[in-house]
């Protein structure tokens, strides 16, 4: 009886735990994209009139960084200019003292994650690990995303030689290197930040 019951319980556990799936693997690249924007609440965007955009894109990979200007990067910078103009700002050269400056970055981070096994505190604590199952496990993930920042050049802190970021956007998800999606991605990031509009 015990042997039969044990077999049933073990089989059921394997059967039930094998039911896990990935709930978002059916999302298309566009549907998987996430646009995160934030702003400095003290900034008065109506006080800015002109803007400039950096002439290249910053590429950050883990602790290393550099600059690049691929055709994809050009498309991105160009679309940033279009969006800022549509919001009512005037595009000027960097040497014309713009009120705000915009930068873009391609960031790739590789993370070594440490996650706790949710069962460990209940079983591992008493038995020193449930049949050798560790209390923690590690896994590595890599994520790339676009970051766009708006810097306040008009009110630069000259004493501390510091520029404040008054708005930033992150574009995450799938298809970020697809040139067909660039315009839509940049439009979405600006589109949800209605407070930027001068109109």
């Amino acid at each position: 009886m015990l042997r039969k019951a044990s077999f049933l319980i073990i089989s059921a556990t394997i059967w039930l735990t094998s039911c896990s799936n990935d709930p978002v693997n059916d999302l298309s690249d566009l549907d998987s994209q996430v646009f995160i924007t934030n702003r400095d609440k003290s900034a008065n965007f109506k006080s800015f009139k002109t803007f400039s955009v950096s002439d290249s894109v910053t590429v950050v990979q883990d602790s290393r960084s550099g600059t690049a200007l691929t055709s994809l990067d050009k498309d991105l910078l160009s679309r940033i200019i279009t969006n800022m103009q549509n919001l009512g700002y005037t595009y000027v050269a960097v040497n014309k003292n713009p009120d705000v400056g915009l930068t873009a970055a391609r960031i790739t981070n590789t993370y070594l994650n440490v996650a706790s096994n949710p069962y460990s505190s209940y079983w591992g604590g008493y038995y020193g690990g449930f049949y050798g199952y560790p209390g923690y496990y590690t896994y590595e993930t890599s994520e790339s995303y676009w970051a766009i920042s708006m810097l306040d050049l008009k009110n630069a802190d000259s004493t501390a030689q510091r520029l404040n970021v008054i708005w930033d956007a992150q574009i995450r998800g799938g298809g970020l290197a697809n040139p067909d999606y660039i315009d839509q991605m940049v439009d979405s990031a600006f589109g949800q930040s209605t407070y930027l509009s001068l109109k």
Binding site: S20, D31, N38, Y122
Partner: protein, 220 residues
Amino acid sequence: MKKLLIAAFLFAGMIPVYAQEQAPKLYTLPSPYDRYTHYQVTARYTAAIPVGSFSSNYIDKTSFENYSIALEWVFQNSFSVGGELGYSFFKKRLPRATYQQSDGSEISAIQTRTLTQYPIQAFVNYNFAPKNAAVQPYVQLSAGASILDYTLYYGILADQQQKIRPTYGIGLGSKFLFKKDGNFGADIRVKYQGTSFDYEYVDKGVSAINGSVGLFYRWW
């Protein structure tokens, strides 16, 4: 002599008849399921309808990804006790929307809300009918714990929380024997199940009405 032989044959022929009359009446004895405690294993497929604040605040979509297996010890009286191990998966997808976060940021994304639950419960059944009745209604009380996985996806970014929390349930069901005195049968059950949980959108626990159909096998 010839008459004696004939009489002997007749007598010999009567012995088995007499023996048959004296043998226990096997077919009039109560079934072993009536006479002994026995065991029962039931596999169920369940449709789960979220209720309460779990439904109104997080997922209101009926889930059809729920399974369980129960092992039961049926006593000679009207009670039975056992354990049940289950799996439930709730999911709801929302169209793209912008969500305001507590830090002031805005997130535009397609939300995929999920909740996975592995309830492990002990239960007591009170059975209203004899062990060999074709229809055997019962009521059930259960209590145990659930391994919960709350994962809220913004696009492909996940906010996850895993906990082990108390679970309880109350149910009403019936068994249907396929054959009198048989080993196999069907089981239907409607059960309310509640689990305490508090994280983000789910602030007053996970509650659902579960309607299940199952098959059981019993042995002694």
